[in-house]
């Protein structure tokens, strides 16, 4: 019995995971060309500059695409079927995630629906998940 995969941070990704632990979605942007980007790396993929900085994203996103998996990954046996989604952050970059707080069915998961980030604990890590933006709080 294996549990769900847990990320192991590297020195370059640690600020992202520290942000998640603090309840913030911290990503990077280039201070030369201004482009925000994800996943964490020490160089701007748009212009090649090494002058990059961390900032806290709004946590707002839209549902860009997804599948609803019937093949459980290790530890996901009780979750099937579950959506594996890609969301587009309000700032532009996209990231993979799960969609929580809504049934994972085609009827409830409509492309471009507004979402917002919500962090869920897994082991020592807080993972960014996304829920429909209208869900209270």
């Amino acid at each position: 019995m294996t549990g769900k995969a847990v990320p192991v941070p590297t020195p370059q990704t640690q600020p992202f995971w520290d942000g998640c632990a603090a309840g913030e979605l911290r990503i990077q942007r280039c201070t030369d060309c201004g482009r925000p980007y994800f996943y964490p790396r020490p160089v701007c993929p748009a212009c090649g500059s090494r002058r990059v900085e961390w900032f806290t994203a709004s946590g707002e996103a839209t549902l860009h695409s997804y599948v609803i998996s019937h093949r459980p990954a290790p530890g996901f046996d009780n979750d099937v079927p579950y959506a594996i989604a890609v969301v587009e952050l309000a700032e532009g970059p996209r990231m993979m995630t799960n969609i929580v707080g809504v049934p994972n069915t085609p009827e409830h998961l409509v492309l471009d629906m507004p979402l917002r980030v919500r962090f869920e604990r897994r082991g020592e890590i807080s993972l960014p998940m996304f829920e429909p933006a209208g869900n209270g709080r």
Binding site: K4, A5, P7, T10, S65, V67, S69, R71, P81, M96
Partner: protein, 379 residues
């Protein structure tokens, strides 16, 4: 033209379920079969290319080949198309004269084969695996819904890709699945990862294939008709499916495919036969558009209208493809093999007079691509 030919090409004696073969054994059987096909022996080979594991050193050593040129490029199932391109450059540079490219994979029986699990500190391990990705069927498929929304591709059209390819497989005795299927059959097969059903996902099989590549100056020296490499291309995009720049297209497909057509100085109108790596039903759609056979958004209708099936004007994936013929995990070699058979006029589902065939491969999940333009004549 590139100045090189495929002088020998062969698959393992059988493909499908081969529990008596290790991955290495499949490489060796395929390599020896390709040498037989070319009328050569291991002593005629001075260059070796394949993916790890087992890798070029192991394959060369097991066969008793002492290489003066090696290529271990391992960028997924399209790697063998890149090996052909790299071998062509090496041969033209005088670094090798005759290169053996092998593939073997015990994908179904898992005999002596490596398992894939991303390192939890890799980018995939940190930013994709935690969300329950369980292999390619649950990730390679993610862009499709976006494509469907942007271009109006229907579930029925996606399903028809599998129907069209089964029509080819029905004519190929070596294909794993040969019984005709309908759109309803596809949509009634179990959901693997919505919107993909089982019959829209590739097989998992055991098998192998190999190629002998040498200078076109030796075109008359071999027992089988030479197949000329007219052009080739390669590119990559991202190892993370979530970071694909545009979910409705593959930049790697487009760059590799267009480079190959450009080098060969051919247009889509010159192409008689086409192989597009079909790990899943949306790949032929993305590939047809990347190569420019149809405009963006039109490929689903093009396939559903019968253009790519037996009797259609653009025969596509005539062995039955990864969906119905075989898919060991690295299908690119089998796509090349079918193009060679069609150009030689010896395919199971021969489509008549094939002068030019294009092969478009994918590696990883839209991560890499290789493309070959192959011709019966040097041009």
């Amino acid at each position: 033209m590139t100045g090189v030919i495929v002088a020998g090409a062969a698959e393992t004696d059988q493909v499908g379920r081969l529990p008596g073969h290790s991955t290495l054994a499949l490489h060796l059987e395929a390599g020896l079969n390709a040498l037989d096909d070319a009328g050569l022996t291991t002593k005629d080979i001075d260059g070796i290319a394949t993916v790890s594991a087992p890798g070029p050193v192991q394959v060369a050593h097991a066969l008793g080949i002492t290489p003066r040129w090696l290529d271990g490029t391992g960028v997924g199932g399209t790697s063998f198309l890149l090996h052909v391109r790299h071998a062509a450059a090496a041969i033209m540079a005088g670094q090798a004269s005759t290169v053996l490219i092998t593939h073997g994979e015990s994908g179904r029986s898992r005999i002596g084969s490596a398992r894939f699990a991303p390192d939890p500190s890799s980018m995939q391990g940190q930013f994709e695996a935690p969300y329950g990705v369980a292999g390619a069927p649950t990730a390679f498929t993610i862009p499709a819904l976006r494509y469907m929304k942007e271009h109006g591709l229907t579930h029925e059209q996606l399903a028809y890709v599998a129907v069209a390819q089964r029509k080819w497989a029905a004519r190929n005795p070596r294909a794993m699945y040969r019984d005709p299927i309908t759109v309803d059959d596809v949509l009634a097969s179990r959901l693997v990862a919505y919107p993909f059903h089982l019959l829209e996902c590739c097989l998992v099989t055991d098998g192998g294939g190999a190629l002998v590549v040498t200078s076109a100056g030796r075109a008359g020296d071999f027992p089988r008709p030479p197949v000329h490499l007219l052009g080739a291309g390669e590119s990559s995009e991202t190892p993370l499916i979530s970071q694909l720049e545009d979910f409705t297209e593959s930049g790697a497909f487009r760059r590799a495919g267009q480079a190959a057509l450009r080098e060969a100085r051919v247009t889509t109108a010159d192409v008689d036969h086409l192989m597009i790596y079909d790990a899943f039903a949306h790949l032929p759609i993305y590939g047809l558009e990347a190569l420019g056979f149809v405009k963006k958004g039109e490929a689903g209708g093009f396939i559903a209208d019968g253009n790519t099936e037996p009797g259609g004007r653009l025969p596509l994936n005539t062995n039955g493809g990864g969906l119905s013929y075989t898919h060991t995990g690295m299908y690119g070699m089998f796509a090349i093999q079918e193009a060679v058979r069609q150009l030689r006029g010896e395919a199971a589902a021969q489509v008549g007079d094939v002068g030019i065939s294009v092969v478009l491969g994918v590696g990883g999940m839209f991560a890499t691509s290789g493309a070959l333009v192959l011709g019966r004549d040097p041009r």
